[in-house]
Amino acid sequence: MKFVGEHLLPGQLGHFFAILAFVASMVATVAYYNVVKGKEPLIRDSWKRLARWSFIIQSAAVIGVFTCLYFILYNHYFEYKYAWRNTSRDLPIQYLLSSLWSDQEGSFLLWSIWNSILGIFLIRTSKNWEAPVMTIFSLAQLIMASMLLGIFILGYKVGSNPFMLLREAPENQLAPIFQTADYMQHIHDGNGLNVTLQNYWMVIHPPVLFLGFASMIIPFAFAFAGLWTKDYTGWVKPVQPWGLFAIMMLGTGIMMGAAWAYESLNFGGYWAWDPVENASLVPWLTMVAGVHTLLAYKATGHSLKSTFFFFFISYVLILYSSFLTKSGVLGDTSVHSFTDMGMSAQLLISMLVFTVPAIALLIVRRKEIPSVKKEENSYSREFWLFVGSLILLIAAIQITFTTSIPVWNKLLSLTGLKSAFNMNDIAPPSDSIFHYNKIQIWIAIVLGVLTAIVQFMRYKDTPRGEITKKLLVPTIVTILLTALVAWKGTITYDKYGAGFLTAIYLMLFASIYAIVGNFFYIFSGLKGKLKNAGASVAHIGFGMVLLGVLISSAKMEVISLDRMKMLGDGIFTKESKQNPRENIMLPKDVPVEMGDYHVTYTGDSVAQGDPKTYYVVHYEKKDKQTGKALERFTLYPDAFVNKKENALSSNPASRHYLTKDIFTYVSAAPNRDEAAQADTTPYVTHEMKQGDSVFFSKGFIVLKGLNTKPESRNYIPQNGDLAVGAELEVYTQTDDHFKLQPIYFIRDSSYQYSVEDTLAPLGLNVRFSKIMPAENKIELKVKEAAGFNDYIVMKALIFPYINVLWLGIIITVIGTAMSIYQKVRRR
């Protein structure tokens, strides 16, 4: 069959590029491998030329795939499943990119582009490390390209082709609509992008995150190259800035996701310990550990083996996170993972391809890796760097262990242990946030203290007394500051008992200690030389992140508590404990007290061309004694309203202050249409002459006259119609003045119709139901809709001192960037 209206060229071109990328990266892998293994310089050179060109060709091909896919989305070619699934005609153009990477193929593509760019950069800069490092890179690209192939090899589907046509999709092949040649006539629009992804963070967060993912391969590749070529130490120097770069990009990417979660508030804050979030945090933790053991090695020769281990495990964990989010295994435990695309095995293989050789080689050659015989001194910096890295490893293990619950279930049932022991599937902890917090808080305490102290130690050995002397002032300052914050801040987070509250105070101390300690170190250790202070600045930022996390979580407050209902239930019943009552109903125009504010909902509004409904919510803060208004502002939380199902997809509106953010979020609103239909108030019949008037609750209606040539929105005259309109004027108590014209007409000289006219603001419906020529009267039927109670249900939260967290992140990034600059310059 020849289908009409399809645009096949961009898809074919795109698929060609995808295959080209696959083949070229295969050639690059083999060629680079031969460069490493080759003996003859001449042959090696020719392999190298081939390898470089193939890598450049695969990079160009990847860009080609991206361009074709973007072209298809941009032009709304809905014959392609990708365009149909992820976009729609009304999608604002700036979100086309977010829909491009909202699906699995697009995210692989993004990753692949970054790999290409980093690869080309490394070809230019890594000199004699190029061949082994680029072998790893090309292999990674080969695997990436295979994810986009979408071809069947021996009956097994390899990859998923983003250029698949809608009619070729397995679920659609039998659908009758695709048996007709002109099926495109019926497909006018796509599915659209999920509204929570229509956010500017979703344009910027994925590229940064995937740059982080992609850059994690560089330390892995260098470490592997070192083991492979038996040059166990030469790789350390070039890798150092890249390790920092990977931390910086991955950290920024993760926290941009957190900022998105925070702003869209669909996940209740910036961090919810969701498996998808955890999976990308864990490699960051291990990479941070690796960067620190690398420092220890460079200064003293200790910890080289652990550096290998951390660099390997970090990339393996990146691949594991990609497996978790893309294989669908998290379906029951995460709110934002993808569903299975039948590629689990492929994802698993891609993970093992890197894991097995790296770990095997590390075990086999562990004896050859140089190490220092003498033990680390307990008063040395390298010793505590190592300890800190192990603490980070414990954090990583704990998070991974719980996040992997669905994987444990799979493993238990695969190995038959589950049936052998008659076990049930394990489920995540029912209070998962506290589950993580109660362990991670201790880790954060130890890390905070280490961050404050370790910089003051010297490598090899520190003279006794020196640490105490140097730490004395920062410690006293920290204790004073902690006491001040504890006194002024009144942290009384007793939801989980006194033990946890103690931990909170300890963490308060630890995070302030990290900030103060490093601040002092810039002066006492570095003599105020900011040039070398990258690490200290980054550590100050890290301390602020800990502090911001602590305070904003411990003092996060829901102000929209439904206190009336709380009293109604009785405060001390079992139920009142279960029900946090965090939503409150705001009837229209009735001020409700909420925390320090009086909050009033005054109605909603929609704008032409904007699919969202905006709810107008006024906040007013009054002085308790005088009743004078101290502060007034209006927030406009909005929502996509799906009329058919009355489903709301809300976005919060927030008021930002330096010290806190106030969020307002609509969780429910009534369905107008349904309310109108459900209204069963009867019509009241009135017989009227010209000039007569009828009263209703809000005013009166006057019959001005009859119009024999009526027209209205709802009535279009046809030939042979006999139509009369009643010209009515409506006067209200508030001196408003409206016109109404219900119409009565006879069509085909036998059927009578009545076209109702309504006055929405007054809830007035008027029907012209009969003409009585003999009496010169007409009959009107008038209905006043039962007073429609407009309201919204909303939730309002205050996040205090969240800016400490955001500022901390920015400072950490700046500090890391300073270090990178310093390391690159010194080379």
């Binding site: 699934r85 992820n86 909202s102 699906d103 809608l166 679920e171 659609n172 659908a175 006539q185 019926h186 497909i187 006018h188 629009d189 599915n191 999920n194 379906g331 029951d332 435990t333 934002h336 993972s337 569903t339 033990e375 680390e376 010793f383 190592f386 192990l390 414990i394 293990i397 704990q398 262990f401 719980t402 619950i405 049930n424 599937d425 394990i426 489920a427 995540p428 902890p429 029912s430 209070d431 589950h435 362990i439 439904d562 209902k565 279960q578 029900n579 946090p580 009552r581 939503n583 409150i584 109903m585 199902e645 489903a647 709301l648 997809s649 809300s650 969780s667 429910a668 249900v793 939730k795």
Partner: protein
Amino acid sequence: MKKTNIILLVVIAVAIGVIVTMVGDFSTYETFATAREKEGKEFHVIGKLDTLKAMSYDPAKDANLFSFYVHDKTGESHKVVFYGAKPTDFEKAESIVLTGKMEGSEFHCSKILMKCPSKYKDDQVAVSNKQI
């Protein structure tokens, strides 16, 4: 014994300790029947929305009370009470993971996780006969 080894041992011990305490936190997936046997403890129940019985959410009465009926895996249907607003797209969920406990014949849940036909997307072909 080298200090590093001692530390490694300590770390391993801590890690094992942490994992053991963690396992205590883990919950299990249950049905209504097994959850009733252990009334008062929190569990996860996977089920489907019982569309034959009405769900109710009336913010005018109580903005934090949403109740509906769910079939669990064995087909047993029970009333579920959720203290909060009705989640968006609730009707669309293909299956629901509830976290909570049995209280008499009602299941009181504190968390609802909805599995939609395709996460982030709706995967049925939408066809209209209207011409633009």
